[in-house]
């Protein structure tokens, strides 16, 4: 093979690999992306049951109910609307009433949000960024920079 042919064969191989990678990425984007919703988003334009989404807001005070097993029910609120959530599993250490939380899962037919993952991370000043932004938009929460531990 001449130098040119060899170079062309490498370029063709590179093009093929990149095309496959791009195809995989585009294909995966159709199925695997999860959108973030607030309870208000859900109330205004409910997603069809079964679609994976993330639901964020504050855990409503006094709403956490643990049954005898390991199922936990609570309500996520953005103070305008509320959404009931059921979660089977151990809640993260920093899950508290009145604190920010993000739950990932899907809506059930009856409108309950069935979460398979609950995120409430890291420290008591911490608020998931999506939640902080959403609450700020509603004018509910006036904290400084949401994740800024140095502010106080």
């Amino acid at each position: 093979m001449t130098r040119k042919q060899r170079r062309l064969s490498i370029i063709a191989a590179a093009g093929a690999v990149l095309a496959v990678a791009a195809g995989l990425v585009l294909y995966a984007f159709q199925d695997t992306i999860v959108f973030f919703n607030t309870p208000t988003d859900l109330a205004e334009k409910p997603s069809p049951p079964g679609t994976r989404l993330r639901l964020g807001g504050l855990v409503k005070e006094g709403s956490v109910v643990r049954d005898q097993g390991h199922e936990v029910r609570f309500i996520i609120t953005d103070t305008e609307h509320e959404a009931p959530v059921v979660y089977a599993g151990i809640l993260p250490d920093l899950f508290r009433e009145g604190q920010g939380v993000v739950a990932e899962g899907a809506l059930r037919e009856d409108g309950t949000f069935v979460a398979d993952t609950v995120l409430a991370k890291h420290d008591e000043n911490y608020m998931p960024r999506e939640v902080a932004d959403a609450l700020k938009e509603k004018g509910v929460w006036q904290g400084g920079t949401p994740t800024d531990r140095n502010a106080n």
Binding site: M1, R3, R6, S9, I10, A13, A14, V17, L18, V20, A21, L24, V25, Y27, A28, F29, D31, T32, I33, V34, F35, F36, R54, R66, D67, Q68, G69, H70, A88, G89, I90, L91, D93, L94, E104, K121, H122, D123, E124, P128, R129, E130, D133, T145, T147, D148, R149, N150
Partner: protein, 657 residues
């Protein structure tokens, strides 16, 4: 006193870095030796100053000097000694100081061991390292100064985030940072070569050991981080495709490609432009990782604190360094002389294939990590891209790489014999295939899991076939085979170990992804639970006092039949200073995998929610990474690549006076 000394040393270091970044460069352009000679001495001085500054901050932590804001925010007088030390980098400011310390260390190493480099190249490399140091020192001094005082000083500190009060913090960030920042050496060499417009095999001989060293640390750092997350976060996950993990994984992928392409450049004088591009790209990924973690654009375990000014500053550094080096690459890469020829089926060809796949996989991770950020910036829509995306893109890309991998070392340079290689590997292929089919049929696991384990066995068996072939086992007398084994080059042994290590990791990943079991139940004392052929009995809860925390410990006894085989004591830990709570998982490793128990909330009288996992073969994931790193160490110890010892003397110039 310490704080002022540290602050002053840091300011001086910035001044020295500015000298290091400019004058040697100018000297190299004018051929002025005395200016070029400034480079090594200023690099060493700069390192000494940053080290002094770092020691000052550690001293502040050791002495619990709460008049230093940073110490007050992240420490507590009752904290155990190890966490006082490691707490120094368990926060934004301190971790940036550690970052710059390692950057300065890299420059000092090049200054010390680079005496036999061509003089101009040496000066330019150090100048570029100086410029990087200057940028990050300015970042620390202007936006993230760890030495700010607090008046009046509080009596007690606010304590370190409890999740970080773990030996993992003492090990994980330094390992990871040495890996990340170590690639700055390869970057500086690449940019210097572009400026000089000259690049040859000797350049690769220099870049490769340094890249390999960084790669070893990055491999261990990522593995350590994964293991830490596994035992600390309380639910047994070992990799989350979290953006911050991806931030360390992208430089690893690019660095792995670099370590391989540098071989081609060194041996065959080919792939020059690509290798230079990879060196730039790898460090660009490191910087991107720093930006993602430190700017606060991400919500993550690692985002300590955020401040918009910091994000913009790091973004500016990122844009300047990456943009500048890519621009230079675009302008100058065409001037580099083209290298040797090779056929597609050859050692070079297989390494090119490795690079293609690793680059594509790195690209997929890059897109998945940055797409949510880009989309939010452009449209305001908030999305998350999680594990399913990466499983669907990354894994299909890796499969061909793993299949082709054992062929590479079997092929000679320039022109290879695919049929011969396939014959030598037929036993390995048969073994892998039989093992995968048997697993699928007998264990009834998932097809993917069996295939993954089969691929892992393929890599390990392929490595063994390679040893058999190289030692001519069975073809020559045993003594001759022994002699050949002993005489294997260390770099070959390293390569074989690294490849087998990947196989080991792969088996662990496949086993745990397909065979993990999970049981969540509320248990009362005396109750039992069956998991993976073992019986777990909950014996009750008891309090325990730690140095700065209180534990509530659950006691579990594990039985196989009637025989007690282990005891597991998970705990819920409350830190006295902050009142924060963490879950301390109880983990017991058996030959077939881990039993992992963590405690949840109380559920009614006396009962507590218990989360139990069986994680088959999960230790192999980290063991494989350690074997890979060990392979790197072997390769590094090869006489021919010993750091700083490429061809002696020939080009050495007397140091200018």
């Amino acid at each position: 006193m310490y704080a002022e000394l540290g602050h002053f040393a840091l300011t001086l270091a910035l001044a020295v870095a500015l000298v290091q970044a400019t004058l040697p460069h100018w000297g190299a352009s004018r051929g002025d030796r005395s200016l070029m000679a400034l480079a090594p001495s200023s690099a060493l001085l700069g390192f000494a100053l940053v080290a002094l500054s770092f020691v000052c901050l550690v001293a502040g932590y050791l002495g619990s000097d709460f008049s230093i804001t940073n110490v007050w925010e992240n420490s507590h007088s009752a904290k155990p000694l190890i966490y006082k030390i490691s707490g120094t980098w368990g926060n934004h400011e301190g971790s940036m100081l550690l970052w710059v310390l390692i950057l300065a260390l890299c420059a000092a190493l090049v200054a010390l061991f680079g005496g036999n480099l061509p003089e101009r190249l040496h000066a330019r490399v150090l100048a570029i390292q100086g410029a990087l140091s200057a940028l990050f020192l300015a970042f620390i001094l202007f936006t993230s100064n760890p030495f700010l005082r607090l008046f009046p000083p509080p009596a007690e500190g606010r304590d370190l985030n409890p999740v970080l009060q773990d030996p993992g913090l003492a090990i994980h960030p330094p390992l990871l940072y040495v890996g990340y920042v170590g690639f700055s050496i390869a970057f500086a060499f690449a940019v210097a070569a572009l400026i000089e417009g000259r690049i040859d095999a000797a350049w690769a001989r220099w870049v490769r050991p340094w890249s390999l060293l960084s790669w070893i640390f990055l491999t261990l750092g990522i593995a350590m981080g994964s293991y830490w997350a596994y035992y600390e976060l309380g639910w047994g996950g070992w990799w989350f495709w979290d953006p911050v993990e991806n931030a360390s994984f992208m430089p690893w992928l690019a660095g792995t490609a670099l370590v391989h392409s540098a071989i081609v450049m060194e041996k065959r004088d080919a792939l020059k432009i690509w290798t230079v591009l990879l060196a730039i790209l790898t460090f660009a990924f490191s910087l991107l990782g720093t930006f993602l973690v430190r700017s606060g654009v991400l919500t993550s375990v690692h985002a300590f604190a955020t401040d918009p000014a910091r994000g913009i500053f790091i973004l500016a550094i990122l844009a300047a360094v990456v943009g500048g080096s890519f621009l230079l690459f675009a302008l100058r890469a065409g001037n580099l002389r083209q290298g040797g020829l090779f056929a597609p089926i050859s050692r070079e060809g297989s390494l090119v294939f490795n690079n293609l796949i690793l680059a594509a996989a790195g690209g997929a991770v890059f897109v998945g990590t940055l797409y949510p950020l880009a989309l939010e910036a452009l449209t305001g829509a908030k999305i998350s891209v999680g594990a399913p995306f990466f499983d669907m893109t990354f894994i299909p890309l890796m499969i061909p790489l793993v299949i082709v991998l054992p062929f590479g070392p079997m092929l000679p340079w320039k022109r290879g014999d695919l049929l011969g290689a396939a014959q030598r590997l037929s036993a390995a292929a048969a073994l892998a295939l039989v093992a995968a089919l048997a697993l699928y049929a007998l264990e009834g696991g998932s097809l993917g899991g069996a295939a993954g384990i089969g691929l892992g066995i393929w890599l390990i068996a392929g490595t063994i076939s390679e040893v058999v072939w190289r030692s001519k086992l069975g073809k020559v007398p045993l003594s001759e085979t022994g002699r050949r084994l002993v005489n294997l080059q260390r770099s070959t042994v390293g390569m074989l170990l690294a490849h087998a290590g990947l196989g080991v990791t792969l088996i662990g990943i496949a086993a745990v992804s397909s065979g993990a079991l999970e049981k969540i139940v509320a248990m009362k004392p005396g109750e039992t639970l069956q998991i993976a052929g073992r019986t777990l009995t909950f014996e009750g809860m008891a309090p325990r006092q730690g140095p700065n925390y209180r534990d509530l410990v659950g006691h579990f006894v594990v039985r196989e039949g009637n025989r007690v085989v282990a005891e597991i004591d998970p705990a819920k830990r409350i830190f006295v200073a902050s009142g924060r709570q963490t879950t301390e998982a109880g983990i017991k490793s058996f030959i077939d995998g881990d039993l992992y128990v963590s405690l949840g909330d109380g559920a009614g009288t006396n009962a507590i929610v218990v989360r139990t996992y069986y994680k088959p073969l999960i230790p192999l994931i980290w063991l494989g990474a350690v074997v890979m790193a060990l392979g790197g160490v072997f390769s590094l110890s090869d006489r021919r690549f010993r750091v700083g010892a490429p061809r002696r003397a020939a080009t050495r110039l007397a140091p200018a006076e």
